[in-house]
Symmetry: C2
Subunit: 319 residues, 2 copies
């Protein structure tokens, strides 16, 4: 690799000067700068981020530790994050937490050893990495899955009100028995949505029945006329089951779901969905992280972004 030394030799100056013209960190005579720039051009010098990091301490890189598997809007989220980070001159080190606490721990350790300037994390349940990051003072922001403790920067979707809205919509349509199909309990997102569901029920004057909250469609068949689906994974299961049992969505069963999908309008009936503001979540997460890197003392923020209802026909509405 081309080093500063070679550039310096070619330009007939010291590496000190080369460094200063590159970083514009001290005035350099115009003619000298010219020579240096030309030498850089000729040699194709790119610099060595590794060496630079060693002395400056920073790496201009962010760690992104997420659960790659099974995330519907994963691609969008990463793209948004990459984009925002790139704009700020940061690059991303991607690592899969494999949805397990120990993988997560290993992932974060690796990121630390690579000296990333900050970490974006989707915590697994029972995360041991989070306390460690806090203890070490590594700038961190939680994405998508939030913790109750508001002692860390975090950004994710608003779940309670949104779910309540979904329930209300079904109730307004006249449904009295409304079910909820969710993912695994214990995950904050799931719990919040259950809470929102309950809240919505209350507001509609309907009573809570824990039998109506399940993890698959089957137990609910014949029990409910309205259904709230709490995430993408679950949605796929529900749709498959509905098909298998000959349940006609929108007619036999009014359905509203979380997770906007590109094919929402291609199925019959088109799906009424609650679309997560994925891109905005990604953007905000990066901004939050960068601002924390800039000011480690800032008070932690929790940002919840409201999802948007995409009203189509699976809820039974004809327009």
């Amino acid at each position: 690799m081309v080093t500063m030394k070679e550039v310096a030799a070619l330009a007939g100056v010291s590496i000190t000067t080369v460094s200063h013209v590159i970083n514009e960190t001290r005035p350099v005579a115009a003619s000298t700068r010219e020579r240096v720039l030309k030498a850089i051009e000729e040699t194709g010098y790119t610099g060595d981020a590794i060496a630079r990091s060693l002395v400056t301490g920073g790496t201009k890189s962010l760690g992104l530790a997420v659960s790659l598997v099974s995330h519907p809007y994963f691609a969008e989220l990463i793209a948004a994050i990459e984009n925002e980070a790139a704009h700020a001159g940061y690059s991303l080190v991607l690592i899969d937490t494999r949805e397990s606490a120990e993988s997560e721990q290993a992932a974060v350790r690796m990121l630390r050893s690579r000296r990333v300037d900050g970490v974006l994390l989707t915590p697994t349940s029972g995360s041991a990495a989070l306390p460690e990051l806090r203890r070490l003072g590594v700038p961190t922001v939680l994405v998508d899955r939030l913790t109750l403790a508001q002692d860390t920067d975090q950004v994710g979707p608003e779940n309670v009100q949104a779910t309540s809205t979904l329930v209300r919509h079904l109730a307004d349509l006249g449904h009295r028995r409304i079910g909820l199909v969710t993912g695994a309990p214990g995950v904050p997102t799931t719990d919040e949505r259950v809470l929102g569901y309950r809240l919505g029920l209350g507001r509609a004057g309907l009573k809570w029945d824990e039998e109506l909250v399940t993890q698959s469609l089957e137990p609910l068949l014949g029990q409910v006329s309205g259904l709230v689906v709490s995430d993408h994974q679950v949605l796929m299961g529900v749709l498959g089951a509905a098909r298998a049992h000959g349940v006609r969505i929108g007619t036999d069963l009014a359905l509203v779901t979380y997770g906007e999908v590109e094919w929402a309008e291609l199925v019959e009936p088109p799906l009424t969905t609650m679309a997560q503001p994925v891109e905005e979540i990604g953007r905000t997460a990066v901004r939050l992280l960068l601002s924390r890197i800039a000011d480690p003392e800032r008070a932690p923020e929790t940002i919840r972004l409201a999802p948007a209802l995409k009203h189509r026909q699976s809820c039974g509405c004809h327009q």
Copy 2:
């Protein structure tokens, strides 16, 4: 951050010894090793990949320069790549080429300056980065989009035969006028599929008509009874257009498409698709790259992985 020096001090040895017990690069007396390990434990030492890289030259990281936007199976591909890389002890630096030659160039430069051990690249058309990588001898493997020149390792789907198969299937069902909707010409993948389409036509004894190759459904309406769709993006457009024009897929128009989607069975009729072996492509790409890193002199390989036909009903078959 905890450094080797601190560990060494705590263990009462030199940093040389600490280094050797960590890397197992020279025998160390059992008792000494014990002490060092304990000191590492106590201090929470993680090592500093940056400093290590500076001296060893390697970084144990791979650059992944892809076009994040608009890639349907992007998530799967990245997950597969991450997984394979992680298994081999490598981490990933992700960067979006933004589908432009200059972004790509900048991306690759950045990866170089970060001293990644190798690069996985989805070349944009007119890529300037590729020659540069070759010239500099950076281990590189092309993913998904392949070049004609077989002077670089590359892995992607087989397109010609697969497309031909798709055409043949429609022809066997009795269709005489078969259209092809593709993405932008010039992209190798597109060109190969057009070629396969042509080949399939020939094999079926049908004649080529360039009017039947378009980038959207509209010009083909009423012109064809069978349709091959060449990728995901295009598929979304075609399905939307079909809906808008009241064209019934499977009945009015037999359709087969590239790009398996999770909702293939949820639409009416279920989609007959050609599923790319995404995961295998990702795995193979990483393996190829690692083997090249290990042996830079190895002759370049081009690997094409066969996609699998998922036979459903949009082709008009009831079965």
